[in-house]
Amino acid sequence: MNIRSSFALRRWVGVALLLCVALVASACTSTPIDPTWAGISLVGDGQNILIAFENQMTLINPTTGRPVELRDAEGQVRVDDQGNARVWNIPSPDGGTKFYTSPLPLDEGSMLALAYTKKLYRVDLASGVLYNATTGVDLPGQVIAAPTINGDLMYVGFSERNLIAYDISDVQNNSITEVWRLETDHGIWASPLLVEGVLYVPCMNHTLYALNAETGELLWSADLQGAITSTPVFQNGRLYVGTLARKVFEISASDGQILSESATQDWVWGTPALVENTLYVADMAGYVYAFGIGDGGLTQQWSQQVATKGIRATPVVVGDALIVASRDTYVYWLNPADGSPLLDTEGSPIKRQVNGEVLADMLVINPSEGLDIPEPLLIVSTMNRAELLVAFALDTGQRQWVYGR
């Protein structure tokens, strides 16, 4: 090695070192990923799909997969100055507002939209316009989970900590009033469940709270050993919920006593699906479980490793199909009786790939002659903006349409 090559090598090593420093810097800087996944829900008799993701909320036509066009009183499509059809789309009112929970119906003509960026807006359902876009209503925290509305009370869990019950009777005037609050030392990432005047609040601090929905009085609380990231399911006076402690619990709704529990391979993030007396649970290792429920507690009927990555979304059970969607970018059709793959007419497992991780819950759209939807549809939302929504034929798994931004 002569001195020139030595100098040249040193120079390249210096450049490599600087690149490493830049790499470290980029690795350390928080990447601008979305804090959570899209909120999707069905709106009205038309089964339009409302998707709230990042800086927009859009209403999607389930037949075409395109944004719903706005129409005037005569039913004509409204057009803008350039002659383009106007569509139901609400952009961020200030450029920085972000939405991850679907708006909730307030009355026949309006909805309430809670932004991750600590604001509440009122939405005109017919026009897709925010009534209070310029001001909004300030909230004390970020909202990840959809709130629950009961008459004039709205229960909002905040992702940092606390749940607050608001009186929303005067929300038309941009005014909401705190009625009571549940103070927690961790966030609330799942919607509270309201059953017969009792509000069940899952919290990341491992505790499931039962509160008097009117007064906020604590009825009981149960330590479930792990963070609770999903809304419990209620049936016959019992609650069913999974936690990050790799367990599924059966809890008495009257006193919070743990009646039975069953271990899973990994975290249980999503809400279980309860059909008749079978509880379908998916975990973050890609396993799916079926538990019988009854007086004997949770009884495991079968378990199968279905996916290569975690399953966060709640399983969907329709007819003879149990459908799960995974972070491994696949949607799987299974036999609810034993978890084996359902086969298509050619004998191949029905397993469909999408272009991104699936984290959001799925939707089912019922067939409708009036809406020109001949067969039931399965709506899957991915983390890839090019395939924010993908519609599959529920029976065959055939892809119908894709909505992307």
């Binding site: 090695m1 002569n2 001195i3 020139r4 030595s6 100098f7 090598l9 040193r10 120079r11 090593v13 210096g14 490599a16 070192l17 600087l18 490493c20 420093v21 790499l23 470290v24 810097a25 690795a27 350390c28 800087t29 928080s30 990923i33 979305d34 804090p35 959570t36 996944w37 990840i144 992702s159 961790h186 990432w189 990341m204 491992h206 050993q225 792990g226 963070a227 990231t229 990050l244 402690a245 790799r246 990994d266 975290w267 993030w269 973050m284 290792a285 975690g310 966060r312 972070r327 984290l359």
Partner: protein, 268 residues
């Protein structure tokens, strides 16, 4: 592949968190110390190499003066000198490059452990290699009123002290490092490696101080602790006595064509 490094790190931080009273800052401090101790042999090798370069610096300077008009000859003599002294000119850089994947995994482990949003926490799933640690999730990431997952600009005003601390401790660590020999090239300009080291010594504290404005507070704490440990390591590493300049004599090596044996530089 990357998970082979990352997952044990994430598990270790979480384990330390549980052993240290659910204190994430203490966990980061002890974790940093452990990693620094484990990579100490690499650090030692790096320091030895730099000190060895320091030792040959006076001879190198004399060679540069002697052959300032003959770059080829200077190159031969320098390489002979390095060979004689057992110095690898790149020996200080390679251990540092080897440590970078460990450092990046360490940073990411802290980011994953401090997960504060659903998508961040989803990324943590499957990374805890000890099942019993799940009950600790999510870790308490608030310290002194600061949310450790957020940058200083989104925290109380006192969090702005952290970028300043990162800047100061990075600079102090640079000052504690063995400095490369002050040499000049044949044309009288400062040696490239020396100039680069000096400019990095100025730029890196500024860069890391600036980046710390957007790093999470938890990472800034790691940087400060890591820098302090680095300073201590550099201080306690034994320094070999440098030979008095008067004793250094550089002999001209014989050209290979005339001398069958390789040339040697002697130190009397």
């Amino acid at each position: 592949m990357w998970d082979l490094i990352l997952n044990p790190f994430v598990t270790l931080i979480t384990l330390l968190y549980s052993m240290l009273g659910n204190n994430i800052v203490l966990a980061i401090v002890v974790f940093t110390i452990l990693i620094r101790v484990l990579t100490y042999p690499l650090t030692i090798q790096q320091q030895r190499s730099m000190r060895a370069q320091q030792e040959v610096a006076p001879k190198l300077k004399k060679l540069q003066e002697k052959y300032k008009n003959d770059r080829e000859k200077l190159a031969q003599e320098q390489m002979a000198l390095y060979k004689e002294a057992g110095v690898n000119p790149l020996g200080g850089c390679l251990p540092m490059i080897i440590q970078f994947p460990i450092l990046i995994a360490l940073y990411q482990a802290i980011i994953y452990s401090l997960a504060s949003t659903p998508t961040q926490l989803i990324g943590l799933s499957g990374r805890l290699l000890i099942p019993g640690l799940d009950h600790l999730i999510p870790l308490n990431n608030v310290w002194l009123g600061m949310d450790l997952t957020l940058p200083p600009t989104s925290n109380p005003i006192w969090a702005m002290a952290l970028p300043l601390l990162v800047l100061v401790t990075t600079w102090l660590q640079y000052k504690a490092m063995p400095q490369p020999p002050k040499t000049t090239s044949a044309d009288g300009k400062p040696d490239q490696a020396q100039a680069m080291t000096q400019s990095m010594g100025t730029m890196m504290p500024l860069m890391f101080g600036f980046f710390s404005l957007s790093f999470s507070v938890g990472l800034s704490i790691y940087f400060v602790v890591g820098n302090i440990i680095g300073i201590i390591q550099y201080r306690i590493t034994p320094k070999p006595a440098a030979p008095p300049p008067s004793e250094i004599v550089v002999e001209e090596s014989k050209p290979k064509r005339q001398e069958p044996k390789p040339s040697k530089a002697k130190v009397k």
